[in-house]
Point group: C2
Chain length 300, copies 2
C-alpha cells in the first residue's frame, strides 16, 4: 500500500501540475527536492506570478522515522516509528473572482518495535475559498465531491462535508474559511471498508479534483476586476493566513516537527492585507460573502 | 495599585498617541471603545495611512472577571477571579528604513473567593523590528532601555534584554523577530523590590518609550526608498505575522479567551507578502539583516 499510494501521488502531482500549467498558459512549476533529516523527503512544485495563478504549490512528501514526541502526543500512541506520504496543494489565483483551492490526500502507517504495521489509515479532503461568492461555483465543487463520494458510499458525502465545515472554521472570527468541500481522516480498514476500498476512494477523490476546480477557473478567470475587488481579495486572504497559522493542524504539526518551512508555508497567499475593523458595505457582494460564511450551507 | 496603574496607562496612551500624531503630521488616531462581556473593556486607538505610519495601534484594556479555564491552566492557578490592565502598541511605518516597534506594559491581580488579592505582578517590554538594519538605531534603542533599567536595578537590563531575545524568537525559522529590547514578566513584590518599586520601574520604562523610538523615526523617515526596498519590508512583515499568530502568547491568549479580535490583531501589518523560498542576494543589506537575526547581539 505504501508504494502503491506513493506512486499514485507522484502521478497525481504530474497530472495536476500539467493541467494547471496549461490553464495558466504563462508560468510553469519549478521543482524543489528536499530531504528530511529524520528520514524521507519530498518534491515541492511551486508556481508564482502566472497569468491566472498568482501563487500555487503542489507538493508531495514521503517521510518516515521515529515518531517525534509531539507527534506521539498528537496521535495518542507510543509506537516506535511511522511512514507518512501525501500530496498537498494550495492555489491562489490572481483574479479575485476565482476562488482559492486547497486539497490534501495522505496515507499513514505506524509500526511496532519489530517493524510490523500496527495501524494504517488514509486522510484528506478538498475545500474552496471564494472571495466573491458565486453559488453555482460552490454547488459545482460540492456536486463533484458528492459524485465521487457516492461511487463509494452514500454516507460519505454528508459526513465528510460536515467534517469539512467543522474543520475549516476560524473560531476566533466565528466564520468559515470558505464554502467547504470534503474532509476525512483516520479512514482505517473496518467491517465496512477494506484498506483497498479506502485506497480506491481516496485516489478517486484525488483524480476528480481537477473536475471540481478547473471549470470554475475557466469560467471566472477573465472576469474583469478593479482595484477594490483586488483589495477585498487581499483582505480576505488575511483570514486564510489566520486559519493556517492559528488553527490548521497540518501546518502547526509541520512547524512543530521541524518540517520543511518553505514547503509548509507555500500555502500562504502572495499578497495580503490587514486593515483595522473592515466592515463591508451593507447589501454588497462583500457583505453577502461574510454573511454566508457565518453558517454552513447545503450547496446541493 | 489597580487604579494608580490604570490612570498611568491612560495618561501614557494620550502622551504616545499625541507624539505619534505630531511626528506623522497627516493621520490621526481614531478611538474605539469596547466592552468585554465577562467584565471590563478597553479603548483602542488606531491610525492608518499616515504620512509616516502606515498602520499603528495604541490600545488600553482593563478587564476583570472569573478566570476562563484556559487562563487558569496557563497561570497554573485555580483562583476565582482576576483583574488585568495594560497598554499595548504596535507601529508599522511606511518607509522600509524605519523599524516597526512593539511595546506592552501590564499589571495583573488575582483574587481568592473573598475578593482578597492573592497574587499581583507587572509585566511588559518593548522591542524593535527593522527591515534594514542600522546598528546605530539598534544601539540607541537598547541604550535608552538600559538607561531606564539602570535607574532601578543594574541587573535588570542584561536579564530583560536576554529574556526579550529568547521570547521574540521565531523557532520555526530559527531567527529573531527583530533586534530585541526588553521583556519582563511576573514582577512580584519580593525581598528586593516592593510592588511600588516595580510600579516605579514599569512606569519609568513606559515613559521612556518615545525617547527610544522617536529619534529613530525622525532620522530615517525621509530616507528615499524604491520598490525593491518596499517589497523586502512586506516580505519581512510576513515573519512578523508568523511570530504573532504562531508564537506570541499574548495574541494566542487573547484569541483563545475570545478577546476583542480587531484590537488584538491590530498588530498585523497592513500589507504583507509571502513568496516561495526568498533568498536575499549574498552580501546585500537584506542578507546582512537575516544573518544578524540568527544570533542575539549585544548592541551596547
Amino acid at each position: 500500500m505504501k508504494s502503491e499510494f506513493s506512486a499514485f501521488i507522484d502521478s497525481l502531482q504530474n497530472e495536476i501540475t500539467s493541467a494547471l500549467e496549461k490553464v495558466d498558459g504563462k508560468a510553469t512549476f519549478i521543482q524543489d527536492n528536499w530531504e528530511r533529516p529524520g528520514g524521507g523527503g519530498g518534491q515541492s512544485r511551486i508556481m508564482q506570478n502566472g497569468a491566472v495563478f498568482e501563487k500555487g504549490g503542489v507538493n508531495v512528501s514521503k517521510v518516515n522515522g521515529t515518531l517525534p514526541d509531539s507527534m506521539k502526543a498528537y496521535l495518542k500512541v507510543d509506537h516506535g516509528s511511522f511512514f507518512a506520504c501525501g500530496l498537498s496543494l494550495v492555489i491562489h489565483p490572481k483574479n479575485p473572482f476565482v476562488p482559492t483551492v486547497h486539497a490534501n490526500y495522505r496515507y499513514f502507517e505506524l509500526y511496532d518495535e519489530q517493524g510490523e504495521v500496527v495501524d494504517q489509515w488514509f486522510g484528506g479532503g478538498q475545500d474552496l475559498t471564494p472571495y466573491y461568492l458565486f453559488d453555482d461555483d460552490a454547488a459545482h465543487f460540492h456536486q463533484e465531491s458528492k459524485t465521487v463520494c457516492d461511487r463509494h458510499d452514500k454516507t460519505f458525502y454528508p459526513k465528510y462535508k460536515e467534517q469539512c465545515d467543522r474543520y475549516f472554521w476560524n473560531t476566533h472570527r466565528d466564520e468559515a474559511r470558505g464554502v467547504g468541500g470534503l474532509f476525512f481522516d483516520y479512514c482505517r480498514p473496518n467491517e465496512k471498508h477494506s484498506l483497498q476500498q479506502w485506497y480506491d476512494f481516496v485516489t478517486d477523490v484525488g483524480r476528480s479534483f481537477l473536475k471540481g476546480y478547473l471549470p470554475i477557473v475557466e469560467k471566472r478567470k477573465k472576469t474583469p476586476y478593479k482595484q477594490p475587488h483586488r483589495q477585498w481579495q487581499e483582505l480576505r486572504r488575511g483570514r486564510y493566513v489566520e486559519f493556517n497559522l492559528i488553527h490548521d493542524k497540518g501546518t502547526l504539526f509541520g512547524l512543530k516537527t521541524k518540517g520543511r518551512i518553505e514547503s509548509i508555508l507555500m500555502s500562504l497567499p502572495p499578497v495580503v492585507q490587514w486593515h483595522y475593523n473592515v466592515e463591508p458595505t451593507p447589501e454588497s457582494d462583500e457583505a453577502r460573502l461574510v454573511s454566508v460564511l457565518k453558517k454552513p450551507v447545503n450547496w446541493i
